[in-house]
């Protein structure tokens, strides 16, 4: 269980892992996440599932190195085992035939977006996808995204690949061109905030998948709480997707920084060790 089958670097900081876990491979649905722990003193942290092969019994995870835990995960090699892996958690994406879906993925957020666009496409929708990153090196999973999209637009902040501009510029172009029935956005919180402001302007129903801090991931700790429409919600059991127009993104951004000092210190100690 939990054996790393393969490992592929998309960039210095972004790594794709295929992990053996037949039960989760079979039971996961688009939008679900898992909780991982690396080593006996490791912390529990969530990652949205980027794909699965129920026949081979594997799931795909795409991880960006941001701190100690992601560094430890990426340090594992094929043949190594992830200490603990549990899931699938969270509510799956509400997939149905609705018309045209605009999907927007920022940075490593493209990975969890993949199973969702695949499902929307298979449900008979027209899917237009915008993927965005700071530069060319950070654009990931372009071919896979293309496979399940009727149209794929690539945006980079510096114009080193695709079109120059933010994800919202690409999205707005589509919105002005054709009728969009639903939008889904996954990426850094700040990107989702602005994508959500854009679609709100055009009154397009939008789901955002949140990457809150979690401990247990099963509803117990409340670390992942967010305000949605002024109400308290737990990302782990009531999300991770919510009506983006109702999410208090500023509060969410503030809460994501809740352990910044502690994380920074831990990262310094960890980097000295290795």
């Amino acid at each position: 269980m939990n054996k790393i089958i393969s490992k592929e670097y998309f960039s210095d900081k972004v790594v794709k892992l295929v992990v053996e876990n037949p039960l989760i491979a079979r039971s996961r649905k688009p939008g679900n996440f898992v909780i991982l722990r690396i080593g006996e003193k490791g912390e529990r942290f969530p990652l949205t599932i980027a794909g699965a092969d129920p026949v081979k019994g594997t799931i795909t995870l795409v991880v960006q190195i941001v701190g100690v835990s992601s560094s430890k995960l990426v340090a594992l090699e094929p043949g190594d085992h992830i200490t603990d892996l549990v899931g699938p958690l969270g509510k799956p994406t509400d997939i149905r035939k609705i018309g045209t879906v605009l999907a927007a993925g920022g940075g490593v957020g493209v990975a969890p977006l993949l199973p969702i666009i695949e499902a929307f496409k298979k449900a008979g929708n027209r899917v237009v996808t915008v993927i965005a990153a700071r530069n060319k090196d950070l654009i990931i999973l372009e071919d896979e995204a293309k496979k399940w999209s009727d149209e794929l637009i690539i945006m980079t902040d510096d114009g080193s690949y695709g079109r120059k501009g933010l994800v919202t510029a690409g999205m707005e172009e589509i919105i002005l061109r054709e009728k969009i029935d639903e939008c889904i956005v996954i990426g850094p919180a700040i990107m989702m905030k602005f994508a959500s402001m854009l679609t709100k302007k055009y009154n397009i129903p939008t789901q955002a998948s949140l990457n809150s801090i979690m401990v247990d991931g099963t509803g117990m700790c409340g670390a992942c709480r967010v305000s949605v429409g002024g109400k308290l919600k737990f990302t782990c059991v009531e999300g991770p997707e919510f009506d983006a127009h109702q999410i208090d993104f500023d509060e969410m951004l503030m809460r994501l920084g809740g352990y910044k000092e502690e994380e920074k210190k831990a990262n310094e100690i960890y980097s000295q060790k290795i």
Partner: protein
């Protein structure tokens, strides 16, 4: 327990002889033993050093000799798992400590745990002859239970309760807290093939993530788990029944009965302004970080905020556990904020006493209204008002009402909200046919602990909404007895 068996046990020669050895008057004149404790100045420095040190042999035997070995042991009526209390105590009196431990294990899967965390003063000890008839302090049943269980563990001669011949019928528990472990222990004794499924990476539920080590060392829990393992109970961590695999998947694998003990789940918040600032968290989160994830030790990757001025909102055992943990993590001020008076506090008297000895401040009749934060969103202040007690409410306790013009502010850098929990929605959401109450608790037949789905039984906090370790264990025991009957009838009909 069958009254005839009780009588037979009591009439054994050694018991009669023991009763006649000391005059009743002499027994009742012995004062109740005091639990030896680690000094407050020392214990506040250690998250993992147990406060109660336990009785020594002489103390235990002397306390055991207070017990009158009543013909009608009313104490047992107060025990949710019906421990044969006189039997185990009289075995301590005569020096047969391993026999005492074996008597405990006849009906309890976790005696060393219960001896530490049960509210005995509200259960067995409340029904003791000394309290009922003599108006004196009860026999220290809880201390003695702990003594016997600890003696056995330290002796290295652990007696594994006998189990019936395996019947090859598979049953599962959802969760691994006290209710599930109690159920598992009883079912394995009856010959069932029991698998305990746990979502977290460790077995034990609230015994591991919730109750701190200064009250219940992990080694004590692990020993009891080891015993269950030796009896044949299988443990599966990182497995969410209903998600990792469905109930139908497990049925297809041959599981015939399920016990749902998935626990209390979602922490409640007060829904007041500023409550989502950083540095404000549920007691579940705080305690899980420290207890399960060992966040206070340097080599743990899990962070925890070590507050200097810590406010804990609530008056239950979880609030006491949180505030005492904060002290041990270096708080200069650790304050309990409770909206009623101390008399209404649901926490055990012992926990309140220990907290006070350690320097916890109690702001009773106070209620938080709002939180404030610095520019980074980290809490730095709270606003409260004072309360007074009005007419009794539905719970029978006098309702706290705000006092006009009593608002005040308090500097804080960490706030722990311990105002209760709501049932975990994970399992009910996977079972559309499962009947749940308006509050999300699983509805069961209270006698049988059977849910609206006949092969599914439930107990503990997912049924009660919030209870104690021992009530949960009682549920597990009842569920085991009735699932056994259900499965027996079921197979007889096929």
């Amino acid at each position: 327990m069958n009254p005839d068996i009780l009588k037979e046990e009591r009439n054994k020669e050694w018991r009669s002889e023991l009763r006649s050895r000391i005059k009743a008057k002499e027994r009742t004149n012995i004062p109740r033993v005091k639990m030896p404790e680690l000094e407050p100045e020392i214990r506040v420095k250690y998250q993992n050093r147990e406060v109660n040190k336990g009785l020594d042999v002489a103390q235990a035997q002397r306390e055991a000799s207070r017990c009158m070995d009543c013909a009608n042991p009313t104490c047992m009526e107060g025990c949710p798992v019906s421990i044969n209390i006189p039997k185990f105590i009289k075995n301590i009196e005569r020096g047969e400590f391993l026999e005492a431990a074996a008597a405990l294990k006849e009906t309890s899967s976790l005696p060393a745990v219960c001896g530490r965390v049960c509210p005995q003063e509200k259960q067995c000890e409340a029904h003791c002859f000394y309290v009922d008839k003599l108006k004196k302090e009860a026999v220290a049943i809880g201390y003695l239970e702990r003594f016997a269980a600890d003696f056995e563990r330290d002796s290295g001669k652990s007696n594994i309760p006998g189990t019936a011949k395996p019947n090859r019928i598979k049953v599962a528990t959802v969760g691994s807290g006290p209710s599930a472990l109690s159920f598992a222990g009883d079912m394995v004794k009856l010959g069932y093939d029991v698998t305990v499924f746990e979502a977290l990476h460790e077995i034990g539920g609230v015994l591991k993530y919730g109750i701190p080590e200064f009250r219940l060392p992990n080694s004590v829990v692990d020993f009891e788990l080891e015993n269950l393992k030796k009896m044949g109970v299988k443990f599966q961590t990182n497995f969410i029944v209903g998600r990792t695999a469905s109930f139908d998947d497990l049925k297809a694998q041959g599981f015939k009965g399920f016990f749902i003990g998935s626990g209390a789940g979602l922490p409640r918040f007060m829904d007041i302004p500023g409550e989502n600032y950083n540095g404000i968290m549920s007691s579940n989160e705080y305690l899980t970080r420290v207890n399960l994830m060992d966040a206070s030790s340097d080599n743990s990757d899990t962070p925890v905020i070590k507050g200097k001025r810590v406010a804990v909102v609530g008056g239950g055992n979880t609030a006491m556990d949180s505030v005492r943990t904060a002290l041990r993590l270096g708080a200069e001020r650790a304050i309990i904020i409770y909206r009623r008076s101390e008399a209404e506090m649901p926490a055990r008297i012992e926990e309140v006493k220990h907290a006070k000895e350690e320097g916890v401040e109690f702001m009773t009749l106070c209620n938080p209204l709002e939180y404030f934060a610095d520019s980074k969103g980290r809490v730095n202040k709270m606003r409260l008002n004072k309360m007074e007690l009005g007419e009794p409410d539905a719970s029978g306790r006098r309702r706290p009402v705000p006092m006009e013009g009593s608002e005040f502010e308090l500097d804080v850098d960490l706030v722990i909200v311990a105002v209760g929990v709501s049932p975990n929605p994970l399992v009910p959401s996977c079972l559309p046919d499962l009947k749940v109450s308006r509050w999300g608790t699983i509805v069961v037949d209270e006698e049988k602990m059977q849910s609206s789905i006949p092969q599914m039984f439930a107990g503990g906090d997912i049924v009660r909404g919030g209870a104690t370790v021992i009530l949960a264990m009682g549920d597990g025991r009842k569920a085991a007895e009735n699932m056994h009957l259900h499965l027996k009838n079921h197979s007889a009909n096929h």
